[in-house]
Amino acid sequence: MTAPSTRRTVGLPAPLVEIQQVTVQLGTRTVLRDISATIWPGEFIGIIGPNGAGKSTLLRLLLGLVRPTAGEIRILGSPVRRGTPHLGYCPQHRSFDRDLPITGREFVGLGLDGHRWGIRLPDARRDARIMAVLEAVGAGHLADAPLGQLSGGEQQRLAIAQALVGDPSLLLLDEPLASLDVRSQGEIIELVDRLRRERALAVLFVTHGINPLLGVIDRVWYLARGHAVIGPVSEVIRSDVLSQLYGLPVEVFEVQGRLFVSLPDEWAHHQHRDGARR
């Protein structure tokens, strides 16, 4: 508990998120074990790991949608609570009905005041704020388009705009690249990187593979079996580190600047036995 104040005295910014020895049990399954990490303002962190490793749970912990069984989490010095304006969240992609009577503008507006009771009254400042964030994510032309008829990449841009409209300090993106083609994937990564630089925004970006994020992220948070390692890519995506994390001999290859993690056959059995479903 003394760590943050010590840092402040030596002139470093206050940490955005402090996670101390957090364990999460859902039913009989331990999803995360003894996780600790500190996230600093403006950091871009990629969260990767196999299915069922607890990536989404980690985001849901920060949002207060899942409670830790043990340990403590503080966001800007305060305990986690639902509805904090410091966080913006895009969950895994959902498909929307084609007929859904919601425009891009209204969808984004939910991020601003969708949680307030009652009917919304016309408000020019609110409209301007929504339009500004739509422009910022390159979706100004989607303001009046029906949400259900947009492509996956366009919907993802709107979801990011919705998460950003409340002006958060930390953006949580759960699998934003899933179900997108390679070009749209590149565009989304470029967009997120630009936004975090312009807005000094910290980003937690959950994805399956590390390669699209190489050269963009500051640190990688690798999860497996409920355990986690966090650090620069060169210190985490290594045979020795990942072998320890998986508890099995893992090999990391580099081919033309791309990283490949090779898991032994036992992993598949292990996954199967452990029921690492989600």
Binding site: G83, Y89, P91, T103, W117, G138, G140, E154, R194
Partner: protein, 280 residues
């Protein structure tokens, strides 16, 4: 030829029909948005057992109807996620409820017409008191929807994000099913338990496919429901056919037209396809 409005029973029919059409279309928008049309259908059938049970006990059928729809709405809401994809379970319960209704009616041998009116509606038989009850229930419904409006849209569209933003998603889902329960009890008076779909779902679904915003969809839904109800009551007055037939036929016709015209309309109004997003 006589004018319908000169009779008290017709005035009552138009008044109750107007109130119920508005309330049904507003609630119906969220029934469609949340994919609850089967639940609404089930609630009406369960309400049938309540209404016939009330007749047997000599109580106002509307009270029995409300008691059953509210109770089952509450149960559905509390079961929440566990009920998702359990259409068969809901179907078995609703069939049993209809069966119970049949039993209650056979025990009560005096008026078979009571059963007919619960099944297909009694709008031409409502009294001044019924109109006042409908108005009170309608006001409760509209106020409840207005209070819940934004979090209800948010939670229906994106429950994960809504919950993360602090919306009490589970509570809203329970309260909304209670709202549906009251709306079903209202709609049953006009079109009966078998045709609740025609007021609660058809106008809202037609409107949703033709509009782009919740307020637009609700506005158009109300307009359609009013047109169908007024036309239904008027046509029934000048012919031998029942009101619920006309309302359901008009609801079907509007839905069909929207389905046929909808894709062309939205294609014409739509943005240029996949214009690349500006960069940098």
């Amino acid at each position: 030829m006589s004018i319908p409005l000169q009779y008290d029973f017709m005035q009552n029919a138009y008044a109750a029909g107007t109130i119920i059409a508005i309330a049904s279309a507003v609630v119906g928008f969220f029934v469609v948005l949340r994919g609850l049309s089967f639940a609404a259908h089930a609630l009406s059938h369960i309400g049938f057992a309540g209404a016939t049970g009330a007749i047997l006990l000599g109580i106002d059928p509307l009270l029995g109807l409300l008691a059953f729809t509210l109770l089952s709405g509450l149960t559905m809401g509390l079961l929440g996620e566990r009920l998702r994809g359990r259409d068969v379970a809901i179907g078995v319960v609703l069939a049993f409820a209809l069966g119970l209704g049949a039993l209650f009616l056979s025990l009560y041998t005096r008026y078979a017409t009571q059963a007919y009116s619960i099944l297909f509606g009694t709008i031409l038989g409502v009294s001044r008191d019924d109109v006042i009850v409908s108005l009170a229930l309608g006001i409760v419904l509209l106020v409840a929807v207005a209070v819940l409006f934004r979090p209800l849209v948010f939670a229906s569209l994106d429950p994960e994000v809504a919950a993360a933003r602090g919306v009490p998603v589970e509570l809203i889902s329970v309260v909304f099913l209670m709202i549906v329960a009251v709306a079903v009890a209202e709609a049953v008076q006009v079109v009966g338990v078998l045709l609740v779909f025609t007021l609660l779902v058809a106008p809202a679904a037609t409107a949703s496919s033709l509009t782009r915003s919740p307020s637009g969809a609700i506005g158009l839904g109300v307009l359609l429901a009013l047109l169908e109800t007024w036309a239904g009551i008027t046509l029934a007055y000048y012919s031998r056919f029942p009101v619920s037939f006309y309302i359901s036929a008009l609801g079907f016709a509007f839905y069909l037209l929207a389905r046929l015209a909808g894709p062309r309309l939205s294609a014409r109004r739509s943005r240029p396809v996949d214009r690349p997003a500006p960069r940098g």
